[in-house]
């Protein structure tokens, strides 16, 4: 468990540092690349939580597709590729104060509810699947209990695809 804690804190530090760089850097392309580090770190946390299928989907969908989409967006909107001082609003201290206040409220609520010692994760957080993998359990849940939401998501994705093409198409 000590190794898991080391793993957690190393990747948590990477996530927080990269996320702060995403919202503070003066270069749009750097922001997209720091976003890759955040998404990879979150994927590593999923591995730690024994959700390996979610981790694989995170890498495929987020790092593989969403970041590429962002880079295309940066390119097509001809945002200045180099340094740009105007990316942050001049009222950013208000945004920082709001975020810190929100963090204070949420941290208080979390400590109030869960404390330090009461809710440890199960030492073996596997969900009890086949051959030490819980992908089978997750797929059984998707195609059993959650089949209708899954189909709704499929239709939503199709609608979003058609909508994006209609919006971005040149007349």
């Amino acid at each position: 468990m000590v190794a898991q804690n080391l793993f957690f804190y190393a990747f948590a530090a990477m996530i927080v540092f990269s996320a702060i760089r995403v919202v503070t850097t003066h270069n749009v392309v750097h922001a997209a690349l720091y976003l890759v580090a955040v998404l990879a770190g979150v994927g590593a946390q999923y591995i730690l939580l024994a959700a390996e299928f979610v981790a694989a989907t995170q890498v495929l969908v987020y790092i593989g597709a969403v970041v590429v989409l962002f880079l295309f967006g940066i390119m097509l909107t001809r945002t200045r590729i180099g340094r740009d001082q105007d990316l942050t609003h001049r009222n950013w201290p208000m945004g920082a104060a709001t975020a810190l206040l929100l963090l204070g409220v949420m941290a208080y609520a979390l400590f109030d509810e869960f404390g330090w010692s009461r809710t440890a994760l199960p030492a073996d957080s596997r969900l009890g699947g086949v051959n030490g993998s819980n992908t089978a359990t997750v797929s059984d849940a998707i195609f059993g209990q959650y089949l209708v939401p899954f189909e709704v998501i499929s239709v939503l994705l199709l609608a979003a695809l058609v909508g994006a093409i209609v919006l971005a198409r040149k007349e």
């Binding site: 927080v16 996320a19 995403v22 919202v23 987020y62 969403v66 909107t77 609003h89 929100l102």
Partner: protein, 102 residues
């Protein structure tokens, strides 16, 4: 200090959420605001997967997968809208879009 605590993951999610909120409030470029919204969605996913692992319930992972799909749809439509705004106004600066201001 030896066991993984649920609160570790929830606090990481809270920190990531607040960084995303700051980015959505303080950035002027529409593409960067969309990136901050991705940070917020990821923080929620960490929470869902952590609760699922605590309860030994696959629902957490299933909902995280649904949110990943929704986020992909959201970013596709969002970037199409940003592209349309750029085509009409030659700028993606959110401060320039003030027609609704009284």
């Amino acid at each position: 200090m030896d066991d993984l605590l649920l609160n570790q993951f929830l606090l990481l999610g809270a920190v990531l959420f607040c960084i995303g909120v700051y980015g959505a409030l303080a950035r002027r470029n529409a593409v960067l605001v969309l990136m901050s919204i991705e940070l917020i969605l990821n923080s929620v996913n960490i929470n869902l997967v952590a609760f699922g692992a605590m309860q030994g319930n696959p629902a957490g992972a299933v909902f995280a997968l649904f949110i990943i799909a929704i986020a992909a749809a959201e970013v596709g439509v969002g970037l199409a809208i940003v592209l349309l705004i750029y085509r009409n106004r030659k700028s993606v600066d959110l401060d320039d879009m003030a027609e609704m201001k009284g």
